[in-house]
């Protein structure tokens, strides 16, 4: 989870871990990429990268844009998602949804919108992310990360 609001990242991570599943996961929370190289040897394979953009903070968008440059191209075949948070607070929007959607198109990655301050939405988002992670890790037979993300993007356009 790459984003600038650590508290929210922590809450989301905890919500994901609360969900029932039959595989082991580990969640890395970072403010930006690249990840510190000292810990490279401790990290397992990364299956999914979620960039969290706070719609109330231009700073978070800039942060994400800077981090994208450090992601290997292969990840963009379905293993990168943009999660736009804070959409519940309509009066405090600092970023245009257009800009984020363009970012999603430019990087061939789906954009999800949510409001993590609401527990119900947080749980629902956690469930979605868990499902996506399962697919990206290749644990769902017949479904590849790429095919799933194409599905996501096409349905978002409707």
């Amino acid at each position: 989870l790459v984003g600038s609001d650590e508290e929210l990242q922590q809450k989301l991570a905890e919500a994901i871990l609360q969900e029932k599943r039959d595989f082991k996961i580990s969640i890395h929370i970072a403010t930006s990429l690249p990840l510190p190289s000292e810990r490279d040897h401790l990290r397992p394979r990364i299956d999914l990268i979620v960039f969290m953009i706070d719609i109330k903070s231009k700073y978070s968008l800039k942060n994400v844009e800077a981090s994208l440059a450090h992601v290997d191209a292969t990840f963009f075949l379905g293993k990168v998602y943009f999660l736009v948070t804070g959409v519940g607070r309509v009066n405090c929007c600092s970023i245009e949804t257009n800009a984020v959607c363009k970012l999603g198109e430019a990087y061939c990655s789906p954009v999800l919108f949510c409001e993590l301050e609401l527990e119900g939405v947080r749980v629902a988002t956690a469930q979605r992310l868990l499902r996506m992670l399962q697919i990206c890790a290749g644990l769902v037979p017949g479904f590849s990360a790429l095919s799933f993300s194409l599905l996501m993007r096409n349905s978002a356009d409707d």
Binding site: G3, S4, D5, E6, Q10, A13, E14, L17, K24, I25, S26, I27, H28, I29, A30, T31, S32, L35, P36, R39, S57, Y59, S60
Partner: protein, 346 residues
């Protein structure tokens, strides 16, 4: 008792929250304890104030006493007003012994010689603060008691805190009277304003916790202790960056509570810098722009920006110099000469 005085006392009592009326009347010490016992402080405020006015009538209150009640109210609710800070200067004379009676006499004389109709009230407090209330009139009108100015002066310091009334035209006279009474030669307004009088005092008297530059580059040991129940499946990758931010914050803002300011205002008098293709502002006039930051507690929220992931640390020195420079109103001009960068005017 004068009708206007009665009305003024009635309205002053109405301002006070019901639970505090008795306490404030006791502080006022104009009505006896026996008289206060006769008032029912549990009824609606309208009735309470009527009963109080009645008692004041019995004691023949005049405007002078009513003004004292007003000072007491404003001393307790000082944060409702906006305060400006003024600094006085002597021309290098030795410190003279401060005589309160002499000060009051000179102040009153100076004001009254210029303006016949003024109400002047003094009240001293334990922290060596002298509170002055001035109600302003004209040669033909009685003073307007509802728009007074308040002055707070700590005699061992060259600083005066003024909450002016809307009638700003009386300010020069007020300032003059202050320097005459306190034996100073000049007075200037500082670019520092806030609702919190105590915070202004903290800033100019340097009572806030000073920030000391840390010479050891290593993070403080033992500050972030891992709780036993931390989930090992969640890994925070940028711990050292977070610690750096905390360290920088501590260096810049210090450890203690921040003075409470509501605004920081930056007036730009710089040229608009755009890429040549945009061709904006042919005439090359300074770009008039005012940037204002507001918050119930500005410095605390600035301090929280970097830890909350909303800004880089360290913040711009324009924001972090506020306490040290004792100002929250800035004018940013173009620096003339070799370096075309903008700088902050002194």
């Amino acid at each position: 008792m004068d009708e206007t005085v009665a009305e003024y006392i009635r309205r002053t009592v109405l301002k006070i929250p019901r639970d505090e009326i008795k306490m404030m009347l006791q502080k006022w010490d104009f009505l006896s304890e026996a008289q206060l016992q006769t008032v029912n402080f549990h009824q609606i405020k309208d009735n309470i104030s009527q009963e109080v006015v009645q008692l004041c009538e019995e004691n023949s209150a005049d405007i002078k006493q009513a003004a004292v009640l007003d000072i007491i109210y404003n001393h307790i609710y000082q944060n409702k007003r906006m305060w400006s800070v003024y600094q006085m200067k002597k021309t290098g004379e030795e410190l003279e012994y401060f005589d309160l009676t002499d000060f009051k006499k000179k102040f009153k004389r100076r004001l009254r010689s210029a303006l016949k109709n003024v109400t002047i009230t003094f009240r001293e407090y334990e922290d060596n603060a002298i509170w002055i209330r001035v109600a302003w009139g004209t040669p033909y009108r009685q003073p307007n008691q509802y728009k007074p100015s308040y002055v707070v002066y700590h005699s061992q310091t060259p600083y005066v805190f003024i909450s002016a009334s809307v009638l700003k035209s009386n300010l020069p006279l007020l300032c003059q009277a202050l320097i005459v009474a306190s034996n100073y030669h000049e007075i200037r307004e500082m670019e520092l304003r806030s609702h919190s009088l105590n915070s202004l005092k903290d800033i100019v008297f340097k009572r806030y916790s000073q920030n000391f530059p840390t010479y050891c580059p290593k993070p403080l040991q033992g500050k972030t202790v891992e709780p036993e129940s931390v989930d090992l499946r969640i890994i925070h990758e940028n711990k050292s960056e977070k610690e750096r931010i905390q360290r920088v914050n501590q260096e810049v803002f210090g450890n203690g509570p921040q003075p409470i300011l509501q605004f920081a205002q930056y007036k730009l008098e710089t040229m608009f810098k755009s890429s040549p293709e945009m061709d904006v502002l042919d005439k090359k006039e300074p770009f008039r722009c005012l940037v204002k930051f507001s918050s119930p507690h500005l410095l605390e929220s600035l301090k929280s920006l970097a830890p909350a992931g909303m800004a880089d640390a360290p913040l711009s020195p324009l924001l972090t110099c506020i306490t040290q420079k004792a100002r929250n109103y800035f004018r940013i001009r173009e620096k003339k000469g070799l370096f075309p960068d903008s700088f902050v005017s002194p």
